[in-house]
């Protein structure tokens, strides 16, 4: 039994035994090498192929007949050995140059070497392909796998699936052929250039000839030469295209594999962490008012992004390695379906999440404060005693309250002051939250906890709001409005600054001053225009001031002050103060 190959020889189709095919291929290669490009190598070869096809045709009696090694031997006997093709100066040499007939393997292809495999033969196959010992390839895989946290296993499996195993002799020969290394690539590119250059000059000759010939005879050969010319043009374009394609292929493999690895790592850290309830992940859950399972979302995202990149990777591999196994139509359509499904699912989830913000409802509480028209009220914000972490005002924080329950904290508090004609002060606490319908939104708003204390005309407002995490993060906020009777005086603490409502009557210049509430607004007696608090002045009138890395030394007419690593020394005419490692000593003359 023998495996057969289908070949196209000069436009004719033949079944040929595999060993016969390899022999024929070696024969043609050898002939090719016995010519130089200047002799019109490609044309000679195509003529020879046409003749061989003719000779085969004479020997094939019916369609199903297979060409065996016998027929190939016969044809070679008729055509002659490569040295018989030599003409020009070579024929005048005494001995034919038999050195040109060398047995070489055809160009190499990537296969899995299952004969020398540890797992699947990917490493040894790549080793053959790149001309590196398989041990180094295995080591590289192991290092990459460890360095990437195990995700390189996926790339390995992709290679395993996509690269065929070398099973037949021909495949094994192809697998171990010429190594694809830099010098060989260089050689190949050079060969390519020479071929192109040769065909160009040949065609140019043909064209000029055919033009002169056509003038005389009327274009019998113009068709063939113009065909030739466009063939050559196509060859040139194809050559550069192939070079470019290899580059693109490498790029695609890199992009594809890196993205897949990044996605896998991301998916593991988000999705798996969520499923296993690793602590700290409920931070994410709270931000998810639609209650869609995080692992599901991350899986969809993984498919939606990963599948296109997988195809990029596959395409890149296909460009580089032309004997790549197809992943099969079933796999392709399954992946396509999965991708479409993921995209649709993500859109649905997106709409659901967005609808959680459809209603923004407010719930207002009004309370009277025991503050009269003549009173002076001091207002300040109370920091949360339970945690001191800083977080941004549009974000949130999960922390335990005094009872040990986990609560969601925000600091979206907006404060403003307004005059009222009533004789008693009032505070309005406006709680707002979002939800997919009115009911949900108002419930979430009601569930916001907010406290303040009034003690001896000192109003202490919480600088934060809190709610149960099951209410989710739904843009909860508090708008505080303090209605004060006309004539009352307030003093706002500096820490109110960041909570002032931008449309409020109170501007930050009133901070730390006693201001009076009037019918028209707020009047401040001692306030200047917003002073630049950052300014500080240094007046140096004394005879000698010295500030350097050692310390500070100030010398006046009757006194000196010296601060350095030993301590502080201050002297005046009547008093001497000395602070050093031995303690504090004060001496005075009196």
């Amino acid at each position: 039994m023998n495996k057969t190959v289908n070949i196209n020889l000069a436009g004719t189709f033949f079944h040929i035994d595999e060993d016969a095919y390899l022999k024929l291929q070696r024969y043609l290669e050898a002939i090719k090498r016995s010519f130089t490009d200047s002799q019109g190598r490609s044309e000679i070869i195509s003529d020879i192929e046409a003749r061989i096809a003719e000779l085969f045709n004479e020997r094939v009696k019916h369609d199903k007949q297979v060409i065996g090694i016998k027929e190939v031997d016969e044809v070679i006997a008729i055509m002659g050995q490569p040295e018989d093709y030599l003409v020009d100066d070579d024929i005048f040499e005494d001995t034919p140059n038999s050195g040109t007939y060398k047995k070489t393997a055809p160009s190499k292809k990537l296969f899995r070497d299952t004969d020398n495999s540890y797992i699947s033969g990917v490493s040894s196959g790549l080793g053959h392909y790149l001309g590196i010992d398989a041990v180094w390839m295995r080591l590289l895989w192991i290092i990459l796998t460890i360095a990437s946290g195990g995700t390189f296993i996926i790339i390995y499996i992709l290679f395993w699936i996509l690269v065929p195993a070398a099973t037949t002799t021909a495949e094994k020969i192809m697998m171990t052929g010429e190594p694809v290394n830099i010098s060989n690539i260089e050689k190949k590119i050079k060969d390519g250039f020479e071929n192109v250059a040769d065909t160009v000059s040949e065609t140019a000759k043909n064209v000029s000839k055919s033009v002169s010939g056509a003038a005389k005879k009327g274009g019998t050969s113009i068709k063939s030469t113009s065909k030739n010319f466009f063939d050559t043009l196509a060859d040139i374009i194809m050559f550069f295209f192939k070079l470019f394609a290899k580059f693109i292929g490498v790029l695609l493999i890199l992009i594809g594999s890196l993205t897949i690895i990044a996605l896998i790592i991301a998916w593991f850290s988000v999705g798996v962490a969520d499923v296993l309830h690793i602590p700290g992940t409920n931070f994410i859950n709270v931000a998810n008012p639609g209650n869609t399972p995080i692992w599901l979302v991350s899986l969809f995202v993984f498919f939606a992004i990963g599948i296109p990149f997988f195809f990029l990777f596959y395409l890149g591999l296909k460009i580089l390695i032309n004997n790549l196994k197809s992943i099969g139509n079933i796999a392709k359509f399954t992946l396509l379906g999965l991708w479409l499904f993921s995209i649709i699912a993500l859109v649905v989830i997106g709409i659901r999440e967005a609808s959680e913000h459809a209603f923004n409802e407010r719930f207002v509480e009004r309370q009277e404060l025991n503050v009269m028209a003549a009173d002076t009220l001091k207002i300040s914000m109370a920091e949360n005693q339970l945690f001191r972490n800083h977080y941004r005002s549009h974000s949130y924080k999960l922390a335990n309250n005094e009872n040990g329950d986990e609560m969601l904290y925000r600091k979206n508090i907006m404060f403003s002051v307004k005059p009222t004609t009533d004789s008693i002060a009032k505070i309005s606490i406006e709680k707002s939250a979002e939800g997919s319908d009115y009911e949900k939104a108002i419930n979430r708003a009601k569930n916001i906890n907010y406290n303040y204390t009034l003690n001896n005309n000192a109003l202490l407002l919480d600088s934060y709001l809190s709610t149960d995490p099951k209410n989710k993060f739904s843009d909860q906020e508090i708008i505080l409005t303090l209605y004060l009777p006309i004539g009352s005086v307030i003093k706002l603490n500096d820490n109110v600054r960041s909570f002032l409502y931008h449309s409020s009557d109170v501007s930050s210049k009133y901070l730390n001053h006693y201001v009076t509430i009037t019918e028209d607004g707020i009047i401040c007696d001692g306030c200047e225009e917003e002073e630049d608090e950052e300014t500080f002045e240094v007046n140096i009138n004394t005879p000698s001031v010295n500030i350097d890395s050692k310390g500070v030394e100030i010398k006046g007419d009757a006194s000196t002050l010296k601060i350095d690593s030993t301590g502080v020394k201050a002297e005046s005419e009547k008093v001497k103060v000395n602070i050093n490692s031995q303690g504090v000593s004060v001496k005075s003359e009196d």
């Binding site: 436009g11 046409a50 490569p82 001995t95």
Partner: protein, 113 residues
């Protein structure tokens, strides 16, 4: 020096002349040229002819055209160009001179004193 090489070289030397001669009356495709040459025992293996044909074509002595065939792909029909015809005429003259010269040399039994 091997006798086979010398024989092959002698044959190859006149091969170009013979190819041009085969084409002098009508165009022919490679198999026809080969048949004529092989019948005359000028060729042992066919391979020799291809580089020669290409060389003659590149030298402007031959041109070719494609012709459809019933039994397979199109065939390349070679024919002489005007230059080729002049070239062949010259070779004809040279060949008869050479033939004469060789005859004279080889038929002389004893060298003259």
């Amino acid at each position: 020096m091997k006798i086979e090489n010398t024989k092959a070289q002698m044959r190859k030397g006149v091969l170009e002349y013979c190819i041009l001669s085969v084409l002098k009356d009508e165009d022919a495709y490679v198999a026809e040229i080969l048949d004529t040459l092989k019948d005359a025992k000028l060729l042992v293996v066919e391979g020799t002819i291809y580089p020669l044909l290409t060389r003659l074509k590149n030298a402007g002595l031959l041109n070719y055209r494609w012709e459809e065939s019933q039994s397979g792909p199109p065939r390349k029909y070679y024919g002489l160009t005007e230059t080729g015809k002049l070239f062949l005429n010259e070779l004809n003259t040279t060949w008869s001179e050479l033939q004469n010269a060789v005859n004279i040399v080889t038929s002389q039994k004893t060298p003259k004193k």
